[in-house]
Symmetry: C2
Subunit: 345 residues, 2 copies
């Protein structure tokens, strides 16, 4: 049989890629969570959608598992087996869960994925503790890996960025809509890169590091993940105002109703002229959400967010061709990129 | 000049040892804290007693600095210069500050060292964030050290223990004074070893690791620090009930007034006979603190705590002679041990 006669393997769809990576990572993630103090372990399992409050098994929707997939694909892109990236995948999923637990406390969010948040279900103190435990477990997971020193460095840089991004995000809420103290779109982008991009970049970089990739490949995958993270956040910002409630599970104009300082709003406020001042006045008044959404769109906020997302998607794409990567994994990384952001642009 | 004619150097007192180590570590600790997000850095500086809320400089009492001293002395005990242990000292002080910040939230404590706790002064969300930032900074501090892989492993094991100890401590509060579900003195000791001992052991072990000590020396210093930590907690438990309020800064019988499940009380409750049942009844009634304190003492709770502390002090002493250590550092470690616990026994 000549190579030309070999059966053509259809490229995997993004849900298939995510599912394959989740299957590969799940046993190690469950094993790690199983090593936690039982009480803390239950809160962790609840966060992952594996159980209800009290411990009864559940099949609640977890996240899409983008971070773990990036770690597995990062290892494969470096020419290693996907399992080489599993410790990195476990670490980033644990860090992601830690950040959700603590961010929900800081933001006062009462529900996540249509269930009570951990602090609502178990109390603030226990939720703080469970987050700490997940954080410690993530570090331990990499620290005990043979050759994990580089991996711990990669993770620790992302943790620092993550906390910095969350600090900026919290402080943005208290700043005015206009004047010298207003939040610029550029500041917002930096916050999103720290808060969301860093961990996605870290995921891909960890996989590559554990897969034995050279520094340039690690850096390229880090850049691709970071850019993907920023693009993802920007698309999320657009959906947070104009998304279909039936799809997003959030109320119409939800982010605007909560007066969140997201990119479309900040870009609209940065437009010159009296309309931007009118928008600021609307945002300072109660209600007026519908009118504000219209004005944000008129002032080009939505278009600016989508353009910025496209720029970051292009950056991610370019990073994936900057260094030689295993073709299959590179294809699956592009497929994820399309699935997560490009299809909406 | 024969060696016998050499001027005799008086051994340093414990406050001198603590002061010398603090001086050595302070610049690196300040530099690390200075790399934090400014808002988070202010909360960290407030925790260390370096500033007031708002950032104005302060000279509020920080801790004694036992952990940083153990790290410096651990390096010196391994025959290295004290500065070899400085990164370890910084990491353990950051972790200690992180744990105080988060524990104060979990325990609802409003004051620490006669000042409002961080969550009281800055809010719960910001205090959660500041703790996370200190945690991340601790890991980063060791991760970027040349040869820091072993050090990160040592720290990460202590972090896991710390969180486990805090989980048990929180759960103890909800358990009854009597019956099958009561907290045994043994469980309490394990909790204290995790919550307090692990980080002190980690401090000494980190110093030794960074100072290039062989594994057996690292293990011996870890054991000494752990045992010191447990002894320190037990002495603290005794002072928490019978300490002089003028010295402890806490009300008479403070821990008993708050119905804290500390070793003396648990040991008293474990005594056979009707008096222990009478004590449990007193503890379940409001007030009655004076009578309960007397009964805990009659039932041998105070003596049992002090005997247990002496056992752990002896363990720490023995660990310090189990492996060859540099004589000067070993002497200073014994001096710290006496200062912190033995003088009260």
């Amino acid at each position: 049989m000549s190579p030309l006669d070999a059966p053509v393997q259809a490229p995997s769809s993004a849900p298939e890629v995510l599912g394959r990576c989740r299957e590969l990572v799940r046993p190690a993630l469950a094993e790690a969570v199983g090593r936690l103090h039982p009480w803390v372990g239950e809160m962790a399992a609840y966060t992952f959608g594996w159980c209800e409050v009290g411990g009864a098994p559940a099949v609640a929707p977890g996240g899409k598992g983008v971070r773990q997939a990036l770690a597995v694909l990062g290892a494969e892109a470096a020419g290693a087996a996907g399992r080489a990236g599993v410790a990195g995948a476990v670490a980033v999923e644990l860090v992601h869960a830690f950040s959700l637990l603590h961010d929900d406390i800081m933001d006062g969010d009462a529900t996540r994925r249509r269930r009570p948040t951990v602090w609502k279900a178990y109390g603030t103190g226990p939720a703080v503790l469970a987050g700490d435990a997940l954080f410690a477990l993530a570090v331990e997971t990499l620290a005990v890996e043979p050759g994990g020193a580089g991996a711990v460095r990669v993770l620790s840089a992302a943790l620092t960025d993550l906390v910095r991004g969350q600090a900026d995000d919290l402080l943005f809420a208290a700043r005015p809509w206009t004047g010298a103290e207003r939040v610029s779109p550029k500041e917002y982008r930096a916050m999103a890169e720290h808060k969301t991009g860093a961990l996605l970049g870290c995921a891909a970089a960890l996989g590559a590091t554990l897969g034995g990739a050279p520094a340039a490949t690690v850096a390229a995958l880090d850049e691709a993940g970071r850019a993907l993270g920023v693009a993802f956040q920007l698309v999320d910002d657009v959906l947070g105002i104009w998304g279909d409630p039936a799809v997003t599970g959030k109320p119409v104009h939800g982010d605007l109703r909560e007066r969140k300082k997201t990119f479309p709003v900040l870009a609209a406020l940065a437009a010159p002229g009296p309309a931007a001042r009118r928008l600021a006045a609307l945002l300072d008044s109660p209600g007026e959400t519908e009118a504000a959404a219209e004005l944000v769109e008129e002032l080009g906020g939505r278009a600016a967010a989508l353009a910025e997302a496209r720029r970051h998607t292009a950056t991610a794409r370019a990073a994936l061709t900057a260094e030689p990567l295993a073709a299959g994994a590179a294809g699956e990384l592009r497929c994820l990129l399309d699935f997560l952001v490009a299809r909406d642009l």
